[in-house]
């Protein structure tokens, strides 16, 4: 299955014995060299999703056949109607469309937290990576802060900052920032010394080198960093919302858990996944736009 390309060539040659000799010798390629055609890649990539869907559908159908009121594995139609209601029917108490209110509240927290962390990564990462004195001053501290488990700080944040937005945004920011700062600092320290020497021979000073050399060089890495940080950021967001909140995607999931409302929880998980995938895709596009030089394969 992995060697789809080779398989197709062999099948073709077998079907038509009068065909001219193939231009490429028919040999069994090593696994690492047997490339996958575009169609084959789509097919292979879809299979795990299909497998999960099939497994869920059959398990759900079995349970519902035994007990039509089973809440654990709701049928797709049930989930869709629950989700559709949350998206279109205003809540009786608040008058909000719950799905959109939750999404908005969560995304604001997520982007505020990750945005703050990105800003810190940019400022501190470049300063630590580029200026030896700042490195001596801050690198040991950042290295230690990196290993503190952020969730252990959550109670402290709630006590110190109250149960409002500030604590949640702070949790996300301090949850992902230290690793980002370290990563950016490392990347700056890895810049070829030749480039830095050359920039100085052209008259660059510390500040103009930050602007014209360091910043553009680390931009692709910064975006990758944000993409990687979004995973933990969602984790911290949902954790904070589960504990203290009145709206948000994480809050909703934990709220309806009490009623075993899998018909809400499952669509919410899918919705969160879609949001995360979309953000990741947008950031990947952004990297291509901002740093075309770092993605030569997409030049055309």
């Amino acid at each position: 299955m992995l060697a789809t390309g080779t398989g197709a060539v062999q099948a073709g040659a077998g079907a038509n014995t009068a065909s001219p000799p193939p231009s490429v010798a028919k040999t069994r390629l090593r696994l690492i060299n047997a490339t996958v055609s575009r169609g084959g890649a789509v097919l292979l990539g879809t299979m795990p999703f299909a497998a999960v869907a099939v497994a869920y559908l059959s398990a759900s159908a079995q349970r519902l056949a035994v007990n039509a009121n089973d809440k654990l594995l709701p049928a797709p139609a049930q989930m869709w109607s629950a989700f559709f209601d949350l998206a279109t029917v205003p809540d009786k108490r608040s008058g909000d469309l719950i799905l959109w209110a939750d999404t908005y509240a969560s995304l604001v927290r997520l982007f505020a937290g990750v945005g703050l962390a990105t800003l810190m990564a940019l400022l501190l990462g470049i300063a630590i990576g580029f200026i030896p004195r700042v490195r001596a001053f801050l690198l040991p501290f950042v290295t230690v802060v990196c290993v503190i488990p952020p969730l252990a700080l959550l109670p402290i944040l709630f006590i110190a900052l109250g149960l409002g937005e500030t604590a949640k945004i702070t949790l996300i920011a301090i949850g992902v920032a230290p690793v980002m700062v370290r990563d950016i600092a490392n990347r700056v320290m890895e810049l070829p010394p030749e480039l830095i020497a050359k920039a100085q021979t052209l008259g660059g000073n510390s500040w103009t080198m930050v602007l014209r050399l360091v910043l553009p060089q680390i931009m692709p890495r910064l975006i990758t960093c944000v993409r990687l940080a979004l995973g933990p950021a969602w984790l911290f967001l949902i954790a904070a919302e589960a504990i203290a909140s009145t709206e948000g995607l994480g809050y909703r999931i934990f709220l309806v858990r009490r009623y075993l409302s899998m018909d809400v929880i499952l669509p919410y998980v899918v919705w969160i996944t879609l949001l995360a995938v979309a953000t990741d895709w947008l950031l990947a596009r952004l990297s291509h736009t901002v740093s075309p030089w770092a993605h030569p394969e997409s030049d055309k």
Binding site: E194, A199, T201, L202, G203, G204, W207, T208, P216, W293
Partner: protein, 269 residues
């Protein structure tokens, strides 16, 4: 255009001595070719002249004052690799020179100054035969094109001293000859002092006005890194009567090159 005076230069990394007792005076406008066995400290010497590294002992005077221990626009450099900025197109690489020179808070020049910088950059691109590649990123330039761009960029900085560390080491012979012509022309135009490290003896004799060999004179069999290399051979070449084949052979023997025939051939051409 600046004199370089080195007296009793030493460089050690920990216990390992790389250079010792290096003394030399280069007159303004001279073209020094540095050759020597691999690992003998030629690049180290160049990095000290650049200001990227500090000597462990001795003095280096450039112009009429001791060397500033950091790279400055007085000295330009072309390395074998990493010589141009990969995030900028060919034209932007050259424009960057004026941007850096301005030293403004944005690291960029605007208006009339930008237009004239652009003019100058475009002229220079044509000059080194890269007019057609102005909007390409270095990743899509060949090795020879990248080095031409690097030289153009360095010269736009108008350095008094040009340092070259195996600038053509990665290029094939045909391109090398082209680059030799380009470099000689630019050197004649600008008249800067050049210090070039090379492994190609022929190139050293063809381009240089003076050939220097770095080698160890003292050896300690117990502890090979106890002594460093120094200048063991210093030949001034006359522009009119070029080096004799005997000189070339002598230097080649010192450096231990096996490509003697090609070295003599390059020199003769």
């Amino acid at each position: 255009m600046s004199r370089i005076v080195v007296r009793g230069l030493e460089k050690s990394y920990g216990d390992a001595r790389v250079l010792e007792r290096v003394s030399i005076t280069a007159e303004p406008g001279e073209f020094l070719s540095l050759v020597g066995a691999s690992g003998c400290g030629k690049s180290t010497f160049l990095r000290i002249l650049l200001g990227q590294e500090r000597q462990s002992g001795g003095v280096v005077v450039i112009g009429d004052r001791p060397i500033v221990p950091e790279p400055t626009p007085q000295r330009g450099i072309v390395f074998q690799r990493y010589s141009v900025f990969p995030h900028l197109t060919a034209l932007q690489n050259l424009l960057l020179v004026e941007d850096f020179r301005s030293g403004g808070p944005f690291g960029r020049v605007f208006g009339a100054r930008r237009r004239s910088a652009r003019q100058e950059a475009e002229t220079m691109l044509e000059r080194v035969g890269l007019g057609h590649a102005r909007d390409l990123y270095p990743a899509s330039l060949s090795g020879g094109m990248q080095q031409r761009l690097a030289i153009a960029q360095t010269l736009l900085g108008r350095p008094q001293i040009l340092l070259l560390d195996e600038p053509f080491g990665a290029l094939d012979p045909g391109i090398r000859v082209e680059m030799h012509e380009l470099l000689t022309e630019l050197w004649n135009e600008h008249g800067m002092t050049v210090v070039m490290v090379t492994h190609d003896i022929g190139e050293a004799f063809k381009l240089g006005t003076r050939v220097l060999v770095f080698d160890k004179v003292r050896h300690d069999p117990e502890f090979p890194s106890a002594y460093g290399a120094t200048i063991t051979y210093d030949l001034k070449l006359d522009r009119k009567s070029r080096a004799s084949a005997r000189d070339v052979a002598e230097v080649a023997a010192m450096v231990g090159t096996t490509r003697l025939d090609s070295a003599i051939a390059t020199t003769a051409s």
